[in-house]
């Protein structure tokens, strides 16, 4: 494996009496698709929160491209090249799909002079719009650019959720259950998309859809009860007795 | 000195519970039903006027209080049916505007009925004076306020956090549709809750009337304090409202009592005389700003 893009170093997080993460350490190599699996409540989303900056860990460090980001706010981390999707859909409900994605594309253009530009009216440059349309088409939401995000069906919103993260063209993409709530066909399309992206982007994928995980992941880490049980290649993980007992069941 | 300090602490407690009487209804309607009701103070005023009128007519304070509570609950229920229920689904700003309009209307209505000048509402004879406790004398009526305040706090706490109705109300406020889908008639529920809130206002009006002026506009000045209280405590939390009330009561009272004295001890007299009262006046606002700085959702955030 090439050098690590993301290093999670001894990260702990407690909520009152609940230990959601207990000294979790592993690293994500540049270019890989790293899946994070584990039972419900294992702390996967919590870990994504710590990495993305939505929450601060009680202990431990988050190192990204060699830089310690632990104390930085979320938006700075995004500017450094991280993007995430939310497990519980978090989009701009009262904006159109196109506006949603345009915002994401603009957020990527990390020239902050333009974000604070007070004077020039935004006749959003055609390039921006074209790119946004492209992203929508990619997940099969093409042709619905003018629909308000809030009036999409649930599965469609899940797709939009992922597109917003993709459109910031990050170096590291944190996906929290992108497949949840999407139908079989849409899941299929999502898998294909992630597979395609994987050539340019490093991905940390949280997902309960094991078909998708085993098709996409280069390596898999397993959290159980806030502890890292193992990190390894898909076949190793599939065979790991504790993982089978706590998570996969015998069906896998 | 310790004696005085103790008495001041008791005063603070008492003032806090006084505020709690009003904050209780507010946190019920505003915190739990998520409805900004500026006209809360108007219901308090209506309650006090009704209590004054009924007490004067019957000659009995108790009858005055009961009549005020019953009357104001009716007014509250009518208000909810006619105006407020159409506002639950609206944003906070619309609620602000509508209930601000209600304040204007209520004030004028009271002026038309009772005139411009304050009206009389006095404590029953037996409680009008002070009683001796623990070496100092304390106004009997204020002790009653302490008792009523504690009772209301307890009753409300149990009702909201321990009963199913309380759970329905909280559920209805956070996700009305889902609550209905689970079989609760949220519309009727809210009317009842609002009426109860109005009843609490009237209780506050009737209990505070003997200590404060019963006059048009009496609701607005105290409403701000009630808001301060529930914001400090965390909106929607009864426990928070109680703690917030006590905190505001004690800090305000002790600030008024001790600040001038404290400042005198290390500042030149003239400066201290100027600064003391000015600081005491803004103390609770400083307190609120400080608390919100450290805990942006109040001391007991009800929604995580």
């Amino acid at each position: 494996m090439s050098e690590s893009l993301l290093v999670i170093d001894g990260v702990s997080r407690h909520f009152g009496g609940v230990t959601a993460l207990a000294e979790v350490s592993f690293s994500v190599a540049a270019g890989e698709v790293h899946a994070l699996i584990g039972p419900n409540g294992a702390g996967k989303t919590t870990l994504i929160h710590q990495i993305s900056g939505a929450q601060r860990p009680d202990a431990g460090r988050i190192v990204f491209s060699g830089e310690d980001l632990t104390a930085l706010p979320m938006h700075t981390r995004v500017q450094r090249g991280m993007a995430r999707s939310w497990q519980i859909t978090n989009v701009f409900n009262r904006l159109t799909l196109l506006d949603n994605v345009v915002l994401a594309v603009k957020g990527r253009q990390r020239d902050w002079g333009s974000g604070f530009r007070f004077w020039q009216p935004v006749d959003d440059e055609q390039a921006l719009i074209d790119e946004a349309r492209g992203w929508l088409a990619e997940v099969g939401l093409g042709g619905r650019e003018r629909t308000l995000a809030g009036s999409l069906a649930h599965g469609e919103q899940r797709q939009l959720e992922v597109v917003l993260a993709l459109a910031t063209k990050p170096k590291l993409l944190l996906l929290d259950e992108p497949m949840a709530g999407t139908g079989p066909e849409e899941s299929e399309r999502m898998v294909a998309l992630i597979g395609k992206l994987a050539r340019h982007v490093t991905i940390l994928l949280v997902e309960h859809d094991m078909d998708a995980v085993f098709r996409l992941a280069d390596r898999i880490s397993v959290l159980v009860g806030g502890r890292l049980v193992c990190t390894g290649l898909p076949d190793e993980v599939r065979a790991h007795p504790e993982v089978r007992r706590a998570y996969l069941g015998e069906a896998a | 000195m310790t004696q005085l300090f103790l008495e001041q602490a008791l005063n603070g407690l008492q003032f806090g519970l006084m505020l709690f009487l009003l904050a209780a209804g507010l946190t019920l309607v505003f915190g739990i039903m998520d409805m900004i009701n500026l006209a809360h103070g108007s219901l308090y005023m209506v309650g006090a006027y009704l209590a004054a009128a009924a007490a004067a007519a019957s000659g009995s304070f108790v009858i005055g209080v009961l009549a005020a509570v019953a009357g104001t609950m009716a007014v509250g229920a009518l208000l909810e049916l006619a105006v407020l229920r159409r506002l639950y689904t609206r944003d906070h700003l619309s609620q602000v505007l509508a209930t601000f309009a209600l304040i204007l209307i209520a004030n004028e209505a009271v002026r038309m009925v009772w005139g411009d000048q304050p009206v009389m509402l006095n404590a029953p004879e037996a409680l009008a004076g002070p009683v001796e406790i623990a070496g100092f004398s304390y106004p009997a009526f204020r002790l009653l306020i302490i008792a009523v305040g504690v009772l209301v706090a307890l009753a409300l706490y149990v009702a909201v956090t321990k009963t199913r109705v309380g759970m329905w109300v909280r559920a209805g406020a956070s996700n009305r549709e889902m609550t209905e889908a689970l079989g609760i008639n949220v519309k009727r529920l809210f009317t009842i809750v609002f009426a109860v809130g109005a009843g609490l206002c009237a209780l506050a009006g009737a209990m505070l009337g003997p200590l404060l002026a019963v006059q048009v506009g009496m609701g607005e000045s105290i409403l701000i304090l009630a808001f301060v209280v529930i914001v400090i405590g965390g909106i929607g939390s009864i426990r928070g409202a109680l703690v917030g009330s006590l905190l505001v009561g004690v800090v305000d009272t002790l600030g008024r009592a001790l600040l001038p004295w404290l400042l005198r001890s290390f500042l030149p007299g003239e400066v201290a005389a100027h600064l003391g009262p000015a600081l005491a006046a803004i103390l609770i606002y400083v307190l609120m700003a400080a608390i919100l700085f450290w805990k942006p959702s109040g001391l007991f955030p009800a929604r995580g």
Partner: protein
């Protein structure tokens, strides 16, 4: 005897119509499914049944009968008290109620079932919820919230249980548990209407299936018929 009978249902959100004369029936004691791609109108149908239509004006036509009564136009709380419970998509847990409160607040046994769902039974089904019972709803993980939504619906002891993507976000093991639980419910005579994406699993569980596309029924049949024709899967579900 059909417990639920939807006939010719037409529904619109404002200007845009999403259901065009949809028929659906669920017989007493059976497990039925509603299948289709994303955005085809599954949730809209379920919500209409529960009285949660976008607006009273949203139902443009059709009838909804439940246990013999015409419930179209009823308020959602009335529908619920008549015996329909919904596990909605997106979970819709009450964030400001504790786990325990989420469950007990709505517990009811309106039909005096002999062996009703109780808090203990729900905790036995989802031990994780028992561990978290004092936490607030919004402090749960996504999967825990899903379990809570199911438990909450069960505790109303409904005549008809409706699950809208109830396994979304659940770990494989738990998902499997839920399937087994639904199977047990079915044995106990619980009438159920399911929307989910795991067709294979549903074939084993359910009796009858309805597939919709763009607000219209395109296929209807039994499990064995569906199992036999994978072309249907491919054509309408993209599997």
């Amino acid at each position: 005897m059909n417990l639920l009978e939807v006939a010719g249902l037409q529904l619109a959100y404002g200007q845009s119509q999403v259901l065009f004369g949809l028929d659906l029936a669920v017989a007493e004691g059976e497990v039925a499914t509603l299948l289709g791609r994303n955005g085809m109108g599954k949730s809209s149908t379920l919500r209409a049944v529960c009285g949660l239509s976008p607006a009273p004006a949203g139902i443009l036509g059709g009838t909804i009968r439940f246990a013999g009564a015409d419930i179209a136009g009823w308020t959602p709380d009335r529908v619920a008290r008549a015996g329909i419970a919904l596990v909605p998509e997106g979970r819709q847990i009450f964030p400001n109620l504790s786990v325990r409160e989420n469950l007990v607040a709505f517990a009811a046994n309106r039909r005096r079932v002999a062996e009703p769902w109780t808090l203990e039974r729900v905790f036995a089904l989802f031990p994780r919820l028992a561990e978290r019972q004092q936490n607030m709803g919004n402090q749960l993980s996504g999967g825990e919230q899903q379990m809570l939504a199911i438990g909450r619906a069960l505790l109303t002891n409904p005549r008809l249980l409706i699950l809208d993507e109830a396994t979304e976000g659940l770990a494989p093991l738990v998902r499997e548990e839920i399937w087994q639980c639904l199977a047990r419910l079915r044995e106990a005579g619980q009438t159920t209407l399911v929307v989910d994406k795991y067709v294979e699993r549903l074939i084993r569980l359910a009796d009858r299936h309805t597939i919709i596309e763009r607000g219209r029924v395109v296929w209807r049949g039994t499990s064995s018929e569906l199992d036999a024709d994978h072309g249907i899967w491919h054509r309408y579900l993209g599997v």
